[in-house]
Assembly symmetry: C2
Homo-oligomer: 503 residues x 2
């Protein structure tokens, strides 16, 4: 794959000087237009040591306006980073729409290094690459323009360069033992890179192999590809503008059923036995018992650094808040976070929809409770027409992939759907309207959502069918009786945590 990048391409200083002013002003112009565009540009730099990755990134910062560029180079993860899934630190650094990110030694770096050092098998390597690919896919689907540059040098050229650096007192610092060690492993490195590039070069996140020997040549190539990619992104965005993502008012009022209704033989919600109850007396005993159990398990989880992610979804007035309070009452206040998920802030809106959840992943050993969650994408956003069919359909896969990363990092995910009947909801709405200190809990929107019960039912069924995975199954909680529901939530949570801790 790299032969074409070992032929010694060069650009004369004269040609370079003739081309640069125009390229710079075109890049600047593209960057200025990008600032108002609804997508970010993500540029990755990887490749052979001394092939000019850092220099090229510096040059781009010099050519363009660095205020709208995020530049990040990654070193060994900090303790905060190690306590989260591998991709967490990259999610955190993703650029806002309208900006450019230049990433050095980012998500390809450690998989390749680990493969070269023989610390992971070929199968594990492929799995990491697929994970990265899915990540890029999700970003690209959200509109991001992604370019990946592999800066290459032949083994001989690299040797020559290292030697010449060693001779130059101003550059000597750049050559360390590690560099020569890498050089001796050139063959292994190139073969791992070959596999990585082959497996992850897609139309939405293509690799460009750039010969890095000649400074002028590589600068023009990278600059030109970047300019063209931004322009293509801008054109695509312009072409999409007549069809805004958020559907029109009219559309929003059309029920899902009219848009697309898949006949369902099996409605998981209908199969729930809502008549299950627990007397107040039994409730008291069982609650104390399960809270004590959860407390012990969470202390153990804390010591072992096992994090738990708890998701609460459910109908309005289905008792999410009450259940959450019974859970938190069992925990040490230092050990949990409750994250209420309401409308996104503007920073959150300027990112992929999963970004706001990544940012809330806590340090190891804690419990993070989401009151509503990323499932909003396939529930309210679907029903209200805020996400297009394409968007919510691909969200199932993105969500499964997100949860898989949490679980493979060692976290536990417990997802509750709090279910009540339509009549029970009515009863509770009325009760809330009547009780002074409960009134704030009930809004016009709740009544409006109620008229969409059928649409939500379709959405919930689809959600459960598509995202109840072996590693992160949904627990459907019969919620008509609050006592029963609360104890069921506690028991399920404790069971899942116990199961994880036994491993």
């Amino acid at each position: 794959m790299f032969e074409a990048a070992e032929v010694g391409r060069k650009l004369s200083k004269r040609e370079y000087k003739a081309q640069v002013p125009r390229l710079r002003s075109e890049l600047l112009d593209a960057q200025q237009q990008l600032r108002r565009a609804p997508f970010p540009v993500i540029v990755l730099f990887a490749g052979v040591d001394t092939a000019g990755k850092g220099e090229t990134v510096n040059l781009l910062n010099e050519w363009m306006d660095p205020r709208w560029i995020v530049t990040r180079g990654y070193m060994d993860p900090s303790s905060d980073e190690r306590e989260r899934p591998r991709l967490w630190r990259y999610w955190r650094d993703l650029p806002l729409r309208g900006r450019i990110a230049l990433f050095l030694s980012a998500w390809y770096s450690s998989p390749i290094r680990n493969r070269v050092a023989g610390r992971i098998t070929k199968a594990e390597f492929d799995h990491l690459l697929d994970q990265v690919s899915a990540f890029e896919h999700a970003l690209a689907d959200d509109g991001a323009v992604i370019l990946k540059f592999w800066m290459h040098l032949s083994k001989a050229a690299q040797k020559k360069r290292l030697k010449s650096f060693e001779k130059d007192p101003l550059q000597r610092w750049r050559v360390t033992r590690a560099q020569w060690k890498h050089w001796r492993m050139f063959g292994k490195f190139v073969s791992a890179a070959d596999r990585a590039i082959g497996r992850t070069s897609t139309d939405h996140a293509p690799w460009y192999i750039v010969e890095g020997e000649d400074e002028e040549y590589r600068a023009i190539v990278v600059g030109t590809e970047l300019r063209d990619a931004i322009r293509r992104g801008l054109e695509r965005a312009r072409a999409n503008q007549p069809q805004p993502r958020v559907s029109t008012k009219k559309d929003q009022n059309r029920p899902i059923s009219a848009i697309k209704r898949v006949e369902r033989k099996f409605n998981v919600l209908e199969n729930l036995n809502l008549s299950q109850q627990l007397s107040d007396k039994r409730f008291k005993t069982r609650l104390a018992e399960q809270q004590g159990r959860l407390n012990g398990l969470q202390r153990q989880a804390h010591q072992q650094g096992v994090s738990t992610i708890v998701v609460f979804e459910g109908w309005d007035a289905s008792g999410k808040g009450g259940a959450i309070r019974r859970v938190t009452a069992a925990l040490d206040a230092r050990d949990y976070d409750v994250i209420p998920v309401a409308a996104p802030t503007d920073e959150e809106r300027a990112h992929h929809y999963l970004w706001r959840f990544w940012r809330h992943l806590s340090r190891a050993g804690r419990m993070t409770i989401f009151d509503r969650s990323w499932y909003g994408r396939v529930l309210v956003e679907r029903v209200e027409g805020l996400a297009s069919e394409a968007e919510y359909m691909r969200a199932y896969g993105e969500i499964n992939h997100f949860e898989e990363q949490l679980v493979s990092h060692g976290m536990v995910i417990v997802k509750f759907w709090m279910h009540i009947s339509k009549n029970e909801q009515l009863r509770r709405f009325r009760d809330r309207s009547r009780t002074s200190y409960k009134k704030w809990k009930i809004t016009k929107e709740d009544w409006r959502n109620r008229t969409r019960w059928a649409d939500y039912t379709v959405a919930v069924n689809d959600m459960v069918a598509r995202t109840s995975t072996r590693i992160a199954p949904w627990a459907l909680i019969p919620g008509n009786d609050k006592n029963f529901a609360r104890v069921k939530v506690l028991t399920t949570l404790a069971d899942r945590l116990a199961e994880r801790l036994r491993k």
Copy 2:
């Protein structure tokens, strides 16, 4: 100070049961009103081990709606936290306006622990307390309601409690060696706490000493104080509403000079020699020389974990961007961040104005370049009437305090005011309007700001006079000649960094 909290106050179960329902609903009601209020509530819990800090925090989460409560307990700082000034992690966790934060073992914890263990002198202890006090002061000035609870037990009561925990199989885990060690140091601990409380109990952030022996008593006391504090905050906010913070349009157009003009004997800007120049030839040599020097210094800084904060302020078109590019061109892309400061996002607006700068402090060993900065508060916000006189006047002190924390954490701060004459600005504006690829740089706002030249001059003079401190002096850069300015910036930055590294 603690005698009054060692008398064994109790509340009978009956009294408790009679009081709780009403208190809960009042707390819930206050919390609901708070959600729409323009200030956050910050509650600190400190005190003697086993005096019920954690239990009280849990109870408040149970009594109120935990979705609008941020609960944080602090353990030993992570590596990410250690690489920033001490208060960074607390800034990061500050609640949005309208929310309540319950902080356990927060900013008083390590000063007191370190003092008890004899790791810091009395003077150092006092200094840390003063730092914390200034922090609370800044938050309170911004509207935050702050309450601090010291949960107390007598030495005998604590012993009794530890013993009883040890006997209870369900509570035994809570008693560790550390607990007994703390108990033996009770006297020292109480004397350090006494000093801390005395020195930091202010009207805007009062301490409440709560006897922690009786569960019911302490719950009612804390709940009641919290309810009252929220109510007082709400009242104050209501009373302030007729005088909104942002002044009216008319006010904005009134020049500062008309509002308040201090006669100035000494105008620092006028004393700058703007005629200094550098020929293109000399510029080239000096630039390369200083960039090389900066590169070497920054590598050294990286190795030593020394972070540099660079602030660029200056007139529109004074060459901030060009100077920044000359700086970044000298650095490894992995070693710096450029933070453009534009209008705050809504998350940023929902915090103290310094919050957005705290969040950008980078890991150790990096250079963070702010293109405009926290000085906006005393420049554009002052001139445009977006900050009241009280707000910008106290900002000087807050800013000095902020910078002092960075410096005492080992960071270097270099602040540039890029200065050009009014005529030179006009020339540059015209040039920008004429050149196609520079047009985006010039906006109507730039022309409008220009009409405020005199007001800005007053603001800049005040800023320099009040915030040019020994530890973080302003460098005023004569900017009429770009060559001269750029080399001056690089030289100054390199000098300051070199000076720090020699230490």
